[in-house]
Symmetry: none
Subunit: 217 residues, 2 copies
């Protein structure tokens, strides 16, 4: 096998998908035994097992010692199909990182705005004051305060890493527009207006990414 374009066990993952289709194996149905797959696919048993273990960790199949391997009780043909394609391509990651970071930010805003305890924290006024007095504020600082307030360290950590990766250069042009949107966001939070806060955030963020030329497909 010189310069294997695709690793063997991935090949087998595909073969299995095909096999499931052509033989119309239903969710909960039984797959051929490992030894039979070895014969049919003409590969070693360990290779077959590597493919099966991956699928098992993904929750696509279940194995029962002494019985066999089964399709997880659900109609997954769709899942398998999607997985096979999502294993290959890898150019969309940037977009995913960006979107995922926004997921965490938006949810944090919702949580803060919704909680009467959190949306009354003095930090929001402080930020507004700072914006008034200094005429500028760093986006990251605002969001960080919001993320911290929710007290979810895991989400905070994820956000931090996502931000680090995204590492989009901050451009402080059109200061007035940005200040206006930040003010809207913070005000909405303190008044518990969840949807308004999200709208402001979206406008702010969307505006930012547009400025940064990050047009997303």
């Amino acid at each position: 096998m010189t310069n294997p374009t695709t690793k063997m066990y991935l090949q087998i993952v595909r073969e299995l998908r095909l096999l499931i289709q052509t033989e119309n194996i239903r969710p909960g149905g039984k797959l051929p035994s490992e030894r039979e797959l070895v014969e049919r696919l003409q590969v070693g048993r360990s290779t077959v097992r590597e493919a099966l273990r991956s699928l098992e960790l993904l929750g696509l199949i279940e194995t029962k010692r002494g019985e066999g391997t089964f399709l997880t009780d659900f109609r997954k043909h769709k899942l398998v199909e999607i997985l096979s394609t999502f294993i290959i391509q890898d150019a969309k990651t940037m977009k995913d990182v960006h979107i995922t970071r926004e997921i965490h930010e938006k949810e944090a805003i919702r949580i803060v705005a919704e909680s009467t305890t959190l949306n009354q924290l003095p930090v929001w006024s402080s930020l507004l004051n700072q914006l008034q007095e200094e005429g500028t504020i760093v986006r990251e600082d605002v969001i960080r305060e919001i993320m911290i307030s929710t007290d979810n360290r895991l989400s905070l950590k994820m956000w931090f890493l996502l931000k680090q990766y995204g590492e989009e250069p901050y451009q402080g042009n059109s200061q007035e527009t940005e200040n206006e949107l930040i003010t809207q966001l913070l005000t909405a939070i303190t008044q518990g207006e969840i949807e308004q806060a999200i709208l402001s955030y979206t406008a702010w963020t969307g505006w930012l990414s547009r400025v940064q030329g990050g047009e997303i497909t």
Copy 2:
């Protein structure tokens, strides 16, 4: 191996996480070679490889023939670090894991319900049909379809890992109540009623987080 509580390769996945943590292996860093792992963990090489293959399919590690095995660089979806640093399983952490998973789930629901393309996918009807015919459905299967539909692979991976990590038995409401809520959720999605979908979701699965440990600490 009598009555293996957990399969060996899953054990190794855990060992690897520990190893990554204790040895502070950074994203992009190199893991011990397969043969070294065999010695250190006292298992067969094929078992080690089964664990590695599953992690590779998840995109957590990369292998390069002739070079070694590496933690996937974060510029390509590296939440390994997140999880490795989050091995600590104190109560707060588990709660964070739970909440964070819900963040991803809720946002996915929003995205799907909002998109006229996504909320018209035939899969929702299929799920409803299955629920009708079989009278039951697995929570995870429904959520997984939703997560996949959003086509955010990073979020999908995070969700998957969070799910594995949380690994909490779901003791839901009565079957009828649950079926009703699922139907509500799926119906709301197909009709593009975002807030209704979120409400159904919260009612369906959110009560658990409310019950365990009170609102936000």
